[in-house]
């Protein structure tokens, strides 16, 4: 460690008197004594320098030899065998703590001593941490809303799933998270909603999409059919001459919105021939088809 000239270390002139040197040392030692500054490494280093400078300059003989250049300022460090700070904080020091009337304090008081700001006294009141959970919700529960119980290791939470909730939405349950510190409120429970897919409903925004199989007769001749919606079945009219891919709209039969309105349900028709074929129909087509040619693949030729 680079050591400063002892006069500089004590901030005195080379011609300073013994009394001046002693006073300078006292002033600096009171400020930097490591037992008076526990845990302050800078003070400790500074004190070493001050003490070794004082050791040299307070000894008339050593000072004279230093002034004549016979010895240098290095190697004058006084060994300090008795560092009070080394004991004071540990178990052996406890009797002096007790002697001064320091009672064990509870955590709140100790945290208050961190002093939130110079005004002090405010203490640390800390909100607990938020906790994150995932809740898997059935498709129809997400559309219509539901109440679910989320069972956690330490508690169970009743979760209200709002109607129309979207996949990935995060529900916040106030003060159901981790406990607070120092009397602070608990954190929140944040519950991410995952919506399971449905067997035949599909959701796009606030609209529901459904593929509805229809018979050849219903498609060609039209008719009334029952259609499932997320809120029960409704009757829908299929216009004559409908086709696979024809889309019909059921207004207001989609997902509820926060403002009370609802999206729509779109029904895409899918023509389904009778299972196993039908001989009578096949015979009819053998007659009919050659007389009524049409090309549904018009415009699909490769460029």
């Amino acid at each position: 460690m680079a050591t400063r000239n002892p006069y500089e270390a004590l901030g005195v002139k080379p011609e300073a008197s013994e009394a001046e040197i002693r006073n300078a040392y006292r002033k600096l030692a009171k400020r930097f004594h490591p037992d008076l500054n526990p845990g302050n490494k800078e003070a400790e280093a500074r004190f070493k320098e001050i003490a070794s400078a004082y050791d040299l300059l307070s000894d008339k003989d050593k000072r004279a030899r230093f002034d004549r250049g016979e010895i240098d300022e290095a190697g004058q460090e006084r060994p300090r065998a008795y560092a009070y700070r080394g004991f004071a904080e540990g178990e052996p020091g406890a009797k002096y703590h007790a002697a001064e009337g320091i009672e064990p304090e509870d955590l709140d008081d100790i945290l208050a001593m961190f002093g939130r700001g110079a005004r002090g006294g405010a203490g640390i009141r800390m909100r607990g941490p938020d906790r994150h959970y995932t809740l898997t919700v059935a498709f129809l529960d997400a559309v219509n809303g539901a109440r679910r119980r989320l069972t956690l290791p330490d508690k169970s939470l009743d979760v209200t799933i709002p109607a129309g909730v979207r996949d990935g939405h995060v529900l916040r349950l106030k003060e159901q998270g981790g406990p607070g510190l120092g009397g602070g409120p608990p954190g929140d429970a944040l519950i991410e909603v995952r919506i399971e897919p449905h067997r035949f409903f599909r959701r796009e925004g606030d609209d529901i999409h459904l593929e509805l199989p229809v018979t050849l007769g219903e498609a060609v001749l039209g008719g009334r059919v029952t259609v499932p919606t997320t809120s029960g079945t409704v009757t829908m009219t299929i216009p004559p001459g409908s086709n696979t891919g024809t889309v019909l709209r059921l207004k207001g039969r989609g997902v509820p919105r926060p403002d009370g309105s609802r999206g729509d349900q779109y029904v895409t028709l899918k023509l389904v021939l009778p299972e196993g074929g039908d001989k009578e129909f096949a015979d009819f087509l053998r007659e009919w088809a050659p007389k009524h040619p049409y090309d549904p693949r018009r415009g699909m030729e490769a460029p």
């Binding site: 009070y84 009797k95 002096y96």
Partner: protein, 108 residues
């Protein structure tokens, strides 16, 4: 375990001076069958008091105040270490939240 006589030699103190400190309760040795018995912490404290009194010119009137404040500092540091240990044992998210709160500038 160090005897009264040994402490006076080690610390280079007049027995009367050390006796006075004990009566003032600046130093708290235990009473053994053969008189006072000192621990290492007591000897270190005696060295510190001597240094403060003789080198730093802290007089008899000021010494109790200095010692009382010093004892409070060490008691607090000890308690603080216990708090630190308790913080160490917290769940990581709580610990991180607490540490980040402690780093925030104080409210004003």
């Amino acid at each position: 375990m160090i005897t009264f006589e040994a402490v006076c030699v080690v610390a280079d103190l007049e027995p009367a001076e050390l006796e006075a400190w004990i009566h003032e309760r600046w130093v708290l040795p235990e009473s053994g069958s053969a008189g006072w018995v000192f621990q290492e912490v007591d000897v270190a404290r005696i060295h510190l008091i001597k240094e403060m009194k003789h080198d730093l010119a802290i007089n008899e009137e000021a010494m109790p105040v200095v010692l009382q404040l010093l004892d409070q500092v060490y008691a607090l540091r000890r308690r603080l270490k216990e708090v630190s240990a308790a913080i160490e044992a917290l769940p990581p998210e709580t610990r991180a939240a607490l540490l980040s709160r402690l780093k925030e500038p104080p409210e004003c």
